[in-house]
């Protein structure tokens, strides 16, 4: 079987849902596929209130933002088809892609594709890191906030970025004891208000520390952590054993980029954005003119910026099918201005550097 669409959106997280909504709202026939059984991406696990601008969803819980986006796409259902439990498995030439559901493999002919595949979690090398009871933070959130299952009773968190801090807080809310949070850098990586929130509930924060090994033979029974020097080398005789039945790794994300490579998009490695990302311009168009990108696949950030970049990609993908449109231009201009303000200031520095590097490389193409 084969399908035909004008705009083909891969991934139903904040970026993909926003891109599909805008493209369909402007009038493009749009197909969105997502490999999970419930669209919304990571938002469906985000029980905390979002930061950002009160003009766009700040102060609202992620789960509520997911509901809003799902409601939005219902309003454009005459133009938009959504396929859940369906993965995009390959790009072919002649603007064709393959999609796979539980029951069928199909070909999709498209005019523009928007790839919003998100990211995968990083792991960490340490002794015994394959013991049962060691999870990624996304896995913990899925168990806890989607399925209502506690991953354990006493958990040690590794990583003090926003994900490590927020998941620690959610674990406390779920009744799990967070026995400590370990961070290799001398300073906490995420927002300090999140750190204060868990600290005042009694979670010790071990900055300039690393995990040496997980303890236990059949399952996690504890962990050995130690202090590290300024070159992140373990300091002898500073080992500390901590009892826990779970270890949660929140040590960063890497953009999920296989589809871009299949689509012959030029890639660039930008550390600030999480690794290899497809080169793209400020319209979120990659070096393959039919392929756009938005969300974490274009560089690790967070949901609000993913929504805005998705809106830009959706508007531009519509234009590449139907020609220039003042409404599309307005959506792009508004989203660009919001992105600029969200990325300003000292906490946005790394992202700005990373984004500037991508833009510079695009200019040199």
């Amino acid at each position: 079987m084969s399908r035909n669409t004008e705009v083909f959106v891969i991934g139903g997280g904040p970026a993909g849902l926003s891109a599909a909504y805008v493209a369909a709202k402007l009038g493009a026939r749009t197909l969105l596929v997502d490999d999970s059984s419930r669209i919304g991406g990571q938002l469906i696990k985000q029980t905390h209130r979002f930061f950002g601008s009160s003009n766009r969803d700040a102060g609202i819980r992620g789960i509520t933002i997911a509901d809003k986006l799902q409601q939005d796409i219902k309003d454009v259902s005459d133009k938009l088809t959504v396929l859940e439990n369906t993965a995009a498995v390959g790009f072919y030439h002649n603007k064709e892609a393959g999609i796979l559901s539980h029951s069928a493999y199909e070909r999709v002919s498209y005019q523009s594709a928007i790839v919003c595949t998100g990211a995968t979690e990083n792991s960490l090398a340490f002794e015994n890191n394959d013991l049962p009871g060691i999870y990624g933070a996304g896995g913990v959130q899925t168990l806890m906030n989607v399925h209502g299952i506690r991953p354990g009773q006493k958990i040690l968190m590794i990583g003090s970025g926003n994900i490590g801090l927020i998941v620690s807080y959610q674990l406390i809310q779920a009744g799990v004891e967070v026995v400590g949070l370990v961070e290799g850098s001398p300073a906490i990586g995420g927002y300090l208000v999140h750190a204060s929130k868990i600290r005042r509930l009694g979670v010790p924060i071990y900055t300039s520390h690393t995990i040496l090994k997980a303890l236990g033979t059949d399952e996690v029974e504890g962990a050995t952590i130690c202090r590290v020097d300024e070159k992140f080398q373990p300091v002898p005789n500073t080992e500390l054993d901590i009892k826990c039945d779970c270890i949660c790794l929140a040590v960063g994300l890497t953009p999920l980029i296989d589809l871009f490579q299949q689509a012959h998009c030029r890639m660039v490695h930008v550390g600030e954005l999480g690794g290899l990302v497809p080169l793209h311009d400020s319209s979120m168009r990659t070096t393959n003119p039919e392929v756009f990108v938005a969300g974490d696949a274009s560089g690790i950030e967070e949901a609000t910026t993913a929504i805005l970049a998705g809106r830009i990609a959706g508007a531009r993908a519509y234009e590449s099918v139907h020609g220039k449109s003042p409404q599309a231009e307005e959506i792009v201009a508004e989203a660009r201005e919001e992105l600029r303000t969200l990325r300003s200031g000292s906490t946005g520095e790394r992202i700005r550097w990373g984004r500037e590097r991508v833009m510079k490389e695009v200019g040199e193409c």
């Binding site: 930061f51 950002g52 700040a58 809310q173 300090l192 999140h194 868990i198 005042r200 009694g202 924060i205």
Partner: protein, 160 residues
Amino acid sequence: MLKHDGIISNEELKAVLPPPARLEKGPVAIIECLQDIPCDPCVSACPVKAIKMQEGITDKPRLEFDICTGCGLCVAKCPGLAIFIINLKHTPGMATVSMSHELLPIPEKGQEVTALDRAGKPVGKVKVVRVINPPAYDRTAVVTIEVPVDQVNNIRAIRV
């Protein structure tokens, strides 16, 4: 120090503490948000426009202490749970602290709970004097506890 351990030091706290003369006048907000992060719901939450961000959304909020009425509407709106209302004029010798509380069980008015400092260390039993948890707060309850005056900037959480 905040960026190393998540605990705001007394030195760091000075930047956001209301002047003594303002504290004498009754309830006032303390916004313990000391980092330039892209977030601004507190600005629009304030009905008297006492919270300002001069350099846009990534600026730190600045509270005009003399305009702030201590109404507390900003408390549940802060995604960082970083806003507290303190009232030194509660009763002679006793003050109150109001804070966001997102853990079950939600305490009830009159209940005795354990007060925690910024490091999560128990500092004694305190009485809950008010709990606000309307649907508009979307499951962030605002709990007010009665504390000794000298604990007003030390107690920042409760264990029910």
